[in-house]
Symmetry: C2
Subunit: 344 residues, 2 copies
DNA sequence: TGACCCCCCGGGAGCGCTTCCAAATTGATC
DNA sequence: GATCAATTTGGAAGCGCTCCCGGGGGGTCA
């Protein structure tokens, strides 16, 4: 509260003067550093309260060369990236974790080359102390941001060909395997998969998981169609699968959107889900509840992903050297897979 | 390009030294201020290129007391605010406009009291030069941010009881009227409305538009149920309407989500849309294409809203005194309204 | 009582930039 | 060729903070 400060905020000097101490002492109180007597500390605190003093972050940044904010970059090709519920959840986690610190969060969308330049400029000018970067596809040049700029960068997911020093990821391979194993366990044998774009790590990892499970079961893993993580792409891929492998009895889609597309096409072709064909997705976004039937899928800890990214970055800024984190995912059984009698 | 700067960025002094001019001159070149000879200007530019110099925004901020970034705040109660396609579009517009300047955009979610405090602290500490604030409901204390802090604030939509100095809004009243007039023109007479929460300006304005049109047509405007802008709320309201006014032949829902809810309930009650009942929504979000039948609705220029907010804030920061802006919306005819024969 | 240490304290030098101001230069004019 | 205005120039004072450092002041131990 205090009286409203019409234009000029009080400065540390004014606080010091009012408290009758040196500026250094006042500074120590604010940063609660040691070596200040109880009496002076209290005097300063009183002065701060009376003046309604708020430290000027800019001045502090100049003196410490730490700006006190971090950026979360969304290099999504999808122009609607901001509306993407996946990102929304990640950001929520990031935000929650950062709220515990006094770091400010800057969200920047860097979908276009132009946006990427903007991000790069931002980082070069050190307008942020650190960066969180989401899953880059293929040979995105942004993957080299850490070396280029020397700024701490935490990746969410891994770029395809670069092994970043610091990242948080979901165990896509093992989780995909989990999904396929569920299909196997429930008696499916002629299992197909709809992959994501294979120039991303997520998609290839999930595809590997599919192959792992099939190999272990001694089954062929050649019923494959590539999608692009969209509903439409999933539908198209499903159409091709149905065409090439009319006998399939289950499909593992590398994400929920594609699974939804597959569901649509299966119904259009008169295949009952889960009666004739079992379908399993990946992500467990809210949309998975709105398909008909409700989608059995792999639940990713998306918010936790964001939280861990933020936590890792904070650790990094504090000079620690955290380890990469691989988050587990789990199966969520709903209605698109049902146990079926074993047939040849 | 240039050689990679391992840790320390070059400073203005170094540029000046290399160019053989004073720091003041170098500064003038950078801010392309007048009073620099052609020769020196070029020398400085060469030095900048050679050193790969990037001005330090923090230092500049301290000297000018302008930090060079603005914040867009989303005081949405919906915890999934970030995923909201409406906000996504606004942000896209803001972002596009700001890309023309060298202002940085900070997105802050301020749904909780805690988040609001964070925003307030941010502003008090002058970590931003200006604020864009979206539609506040009821008596949100954030509505007084401008007076409290003296910082330039542009509103998107208007708070209910406060007339802000600077805002961009859609002409909700006139547009709602447009919607209802369309219903009238197509031969509907027993028209009901599902309003939004009436502690918001949007909702009351759209309700007024409904009443305007009905009054003009000499029809009663008493078929009213309040919703909350959600699909579920819309469905509940529709149920109540059907109960109280079984003879209704059309409904104007104050947004698309509620219209979707209404559609669902109407179908469940065996009413054909548009055959028995015409339904019209408001917003024209992407979801309006995914209802069955596709929704006739009012298209809001959402991205333009964001663009204009940003443009206005930029003008404000440049010391201009822009006028509030009211954006027009337009009717989009799809399949949920059909011309019907006039009956008593 | 003197030597030594540990705290507390304030002075002051930055951090990298903008900007005022007075001095120096230029050029045009009589 | 001298005078005056217009332009260009660099010195220096900040912006508000952090943090190093050296100077006391009080305690402890021989």
């Amino acid at each position: 509260m205090g009286t409203p400060q019409p234009s000029r905020q009080p400065t540390l000097d004014e606080v010091a003067a009012l408290a009758g101490v040196s500026r250094s002492a006042a500074s120590r109180v604010i940063n609660n550093a040691p070596h200040v007597s109880r009496a002076k500390r209290e005097a300063v605190e009183r002065a701060i309260a009376e003046l309604g003093y708020v430290p000027n972050p800019t001045a502090r940044a100049l003196a410490t060369s730490q700006v006190g904010s971090v950026v979360f970059a969304m290099p999504n090709d999808d122009p609607a990236a901001f509306g993407d519920p996946f990102f929304a959840q990640v950001v929520r986690g990031v935000s929650a974790e950062l709220a515990k610190t006094d770091l400010e969060l800057m969200l920047v969308a860097a979908p276009s080359p132009h946006g990427r330049d903007r991000l790069r400029r931002l980082v070069r000018a050190r307008r942020a102390d650190g960066v969180m970067l989401m899953a880059l596809s293929g040979d995105d040049p942004l993957a080299h941001l850490p070396e280029e700029t020397g700024i701490p960068v935490v990746f969410g997911g891994r770029p395809l060909h670069v092994q970043p020093r610091w990242y948080v990821d979901v165990d896509n391979r093992a989780s995909a395997r989990l999904a396929v194993e569920h299909l196997l366990r429930t008696g499916h044998r002629r299992i197909a998969t709809i992959t994501g774009p294979l120039d991303t790590d997520v998609a290839t990892a999930r595809h590997h998981g599919f192959r792992d499970a099939m190999a272990e079961a001694g089954l062929p893993a050649d019923r494959v169609a590539a999608g692009d993580f969209t509903e439409t792409g999933g539908a198209a891929a499903m159409t091709r699968l149905l065409d090439a492998f009319p006998d399939l009895d289950a499909v593992f889609a590398a994400n929920d959107d594609m699974a939804a597309g597959a569901l649509r096409v299966l119904r259009a072709h008169g295949r009952d889900v889960p009666g004739d064909v079992g379908v399993i997705g990946f992500d467990d976004l809210p949309a998975a509840l709105h398909t008909d039937p409700q989608l059995t899928t792999i639940h990713q800890p998306i918010e936790a992903l964001g939280r861990e990214m933020a936590r890792m970055l904070v650790a990094l800024l504090a000079g620690e050297r955290p380890c990469p984190i691989i988050l587990p995912a789990r199966l969520v059984e709903r209605d698109s897979v049902r146990a079926r009698p074993l047939t040849g």
